[in-house]
């Protein structure tokens, strides 16, 4: 009731939400359940059975990338959060620095590094090691995801961890907690909001990416993102099928996020 009185204030936001969120969503749902002539059909959804393996692969690669991000980012964020305030700022900037460069450019850089005749293989060749098949593998795609999305894991983790008072950790030590007890009984539970936010912010873009897989797998690995893209911009051109795929992807993400609790966090906004 109290909200009603101040309804006027919310109008711009409401309009924004309707035009840019609700309306597109309705369109996606509409296209997913219609054919090219506009008639109702379930063919788009039932036809998705052919793409289960693509969904599955996307899920696996995104999950691996998310776990790797978490494992790499966790100690980095913790150390960052324990530094003096001034140094924290400088190092946080270094974490953000790559994000100022164009996403495509960064991924191109990885291409030239990973190529069969690329920098890494040439360097290893000096010592008589390799060359390795690195580009055009699933590993390269995961690497691209981890590299690009790592800051999105570090920042929310860091935000949650700076709130952990050093004296709370000392209190745990004082009460007899060694390294692992400290980690599992105090630091992990207290950084849970950051973990949830971080997982969401890495997993969601990773599962729907198409550019990373396209560039680093040379078209060898197709993820849902690539599939959807080809329905709208590629030669397959079937936006009804593309909408159905998007809809299912959305449901899958929602399901997974509700399992990890990634949505009951206000910290998402705090980080961005």
């Amino acid at each position: 009731m109290r909200v009603k009185r101040k309804k006027g204030v919310a109008v711009p936001y409401l309009a924004w939400m309707i035009i840019f969120t609700a309306l597109p969503l309705v369109l996606v749902i509409f296209f997913a359940f219609t054919n090219k002539d506009g008639g109702f059909t379930l063919d788009n959804l039932t036809g998705l059975g052919n793409y289960v393996s693509v969904f599955f692969l996307s899920l696996i690669l995104a999950a691996i990338a998310t776990v790797l991000c978490l494992v790499i980012a966790y100690p980095i964020s913790f150390m960052l959060s324990r530094l003096r305030a001034g140094r924290q700022g400088i190092l946080l900037m270094l974490v953000m620095l790559p994000m100022w460069m164009n996403f495509l450019l960064r991924t191109y850089a990885w291409m030239s590094l990973l190529e069969y005749n690329g920098l890494i293989n040439r360097f290893l060749g000096i010592f008589g090691i390799g060359p390795f098949e690195m580009i055009n593998t699933a590993g390269a795609v995961v690497l691209g995801m981890v590299y690009n999305y790592l800051p999105y894991m570090i920042l929310p983790l860091y935000t949650a961890m700076v709130k952990i008072s050093p004296s709370v950790i000392e209190a745990a030590e004082d009460l007899g907690a060694g390294f692992w007890s400290k980690l599992f009984r105090v630091i992990l539970p207290l950084s849970k909001p950051g973990i949830q936010t971080g997982i969401t912010m890495v997993f969601v873009p990773a599962i729907s990416t198409f550019i990373i897989s396209k560039m680093l797998s040379g078209g060898n690995i197709w993820l849902i993102g690539d599939l959807i893209e080809s329905q709208f911009l590629g030669n397959a051109y079937n936006y009804n099928l593309g909408s159905a795929m998007s809809l299912v992807l959305m449901v899958v993400v929602l399901l997974i996020m509700s399992l990890t609790g990634g949505f009951d966090q206000e910290d998402i906004e705090g980080v961005i």
Partner: protein, 403 residues
């Protein structure tokens, strides 16, 4: 055991008087190593520095079993640093820490048989009251039934029965404090370290908690090492007060000793209000200060030795100007509740006087000081430096906080 200690301190005090210096802790240490079995924690020549600035300068201190010891001093004096060295949170650059005769200098905090009550309580925000208190016992893999028993017993001791399921942020400052105490005590430490635990509480609650803490310490018969900058708190609760300044122990003694027999100008100035004067002892039982000779009860000084004289504000008697040993003009008079506090100008000296009778500003009054109300201290350049001490020194405070 207790009587031995008291005797020892008075011996040390006497020594100091004779040796013109106050390395009292050294004297005690020597005695302890030979004869005293009741020492539970012993610090030997502890050196700590932050960014090349010495915070503790070869500090040595013995703490006895079942004793309530207070480390007292201004911000930056190294009292918290000393506590952190005992707790194991800070590795000293030099020196050793002994617990029950064993060297524990290299032992990490989680292996030390002491527990700490932190300045801002440091409760686990993700656990409720019960789980906070149970934390230490769970780590020791104590049986669930025993945990329950002991946690409830401890919560009862600190007066928080029925609060088990509460979240910590639902508690008031005083209640959080009690949880922090219960959480530390449930592990049955032989020594409890308390770092300004009452600092965040309001005056009335602080007084209540002072009595409560003393009660807990006595009923559990364990050692408390208590850090505070509040001299009244130190005098109220302690068996022994350790006055510190600039990383050096100034005096160790019972609250009465510290107040009545301050070893130097710093202690006299820091503990309660003092009038401190430069003076001279022409001979035993006679001292000259404020331009007058006074009979006193002190002896053992060199003839014509330069000394410092302490007179407590409540020990100055206000009399009619004709009957006074000294006369002075009242500058200000302020009502303080139990007494009036007056600043009196006397021959270039300023006296603080506390009296139940007010004299008006501008009034000429007489002042008398009884012989046994005059306390005489040896004078050294070092001590003179302390006389210029001012409690607030932001740089030092920073150094202390960094620890």
């Amino acid at each position: 055991m207790r009587s031995i200690r008291v005797e020892k301190y008075s011996l040390a005090t006497a020594n100091c008087k004779r040796t013109t210096h106050y390395h009292q802790n050294r004297v005690i240490n020597k005695g302890v190593v030979l004869m005293d079995q009741s020492v539970i924690i012993s610090l030997k020549d502890i050196v700590v520095d932050f960014d090349d600035e010495a915070v503790l300068n070869g500090l040595s201190l013995d703490i006895h079993d079942e004793e309530f010891v207070t480390l007292l001093g201004p911000s930056g004096c190294g009292k918290t640093t000393t506590l952190r060295v005992i707790g194991g949170f800070l590795a000293p650059k030099g020196g050793q820490v002994f617990f029950d005769g064993k060297d524990i200098t290299a032992l990490p905090p989680y292996k030390r048989p002491v527990n700490t009550v932190f300045q801002k309580y440091a409760l686990f925000p993700h656990l409720n009251v019960y789980e906070n208190v149970a934390f230490g016992l769970r780590l020791k893999k104590v049986e669930e039934k025993l945990i329950r028993e002991q946690v409830l017993e401890m919560l009862e001791l600190v007066g928080l029965k029925g609060f088990e399921r509460r979240g910590t942020e639902q508690l008031s400052g005083g209640q959080q404090q009690r949880v922090a105490i219960a959480r530390a005590l449930v592990n049955r430490p032989k020594v409890l370290l308390l770092d300004e635990p009452l600092g965040a509480l309001d005056l009335k609650l602080r007084k209540e908690m002072q009595i409560e803490l003393k009660r807990i310490q006595q009923s559990l018969e364990i050692t408390f090492v208590y850090v505070t900058h509040d001299q009244e708190e130190a005098l109220t609760m302690s068996d022994t007060v350790v006055v510190m300044n600039k990383g050096v122990i100034q005096q160790i003694g019972s609250p009465q000793d510290i107040y009545n027999e301050p070893m130097n100008a710093f202690v006299a100035d820091f503990i309660g209000e003092s009038n401190i004067f430069e003076g001279m002892m022409p001979k035993d039982f006679l001292v000259e200060f404020a331009g007058q000779p006074f009979t006193c009860v002190d002896s053992g000084f060199a003839p014509n030795e330069l000394v410092q004289v302490v007179v407590r504000p409540e020990d100055v008697q206000v009399v009619p100007s004709v009957a006074g040993q000294l006369t002075g003009v009242v500058k200000t008079t302020v009502f303080k509740g139990v007494h009036w506090e007056m600043i009196v100008e006397q021959g270039g000296n300023e006296w603080i006087i506390q009296s139940t009778v007010a004299s008006q500003p501008g009034e000429l009054i007489g002042m008398n000081v009884e012989p046994d109300m005059i306390h005489i201290m040896h004078r050294s350049d070092e001590e003179l430096a302390y006389a210029e001490f001012r409690p607030e020194d932001p740089e030092e405070e920073e150094a202390e906080d960094a620890g």
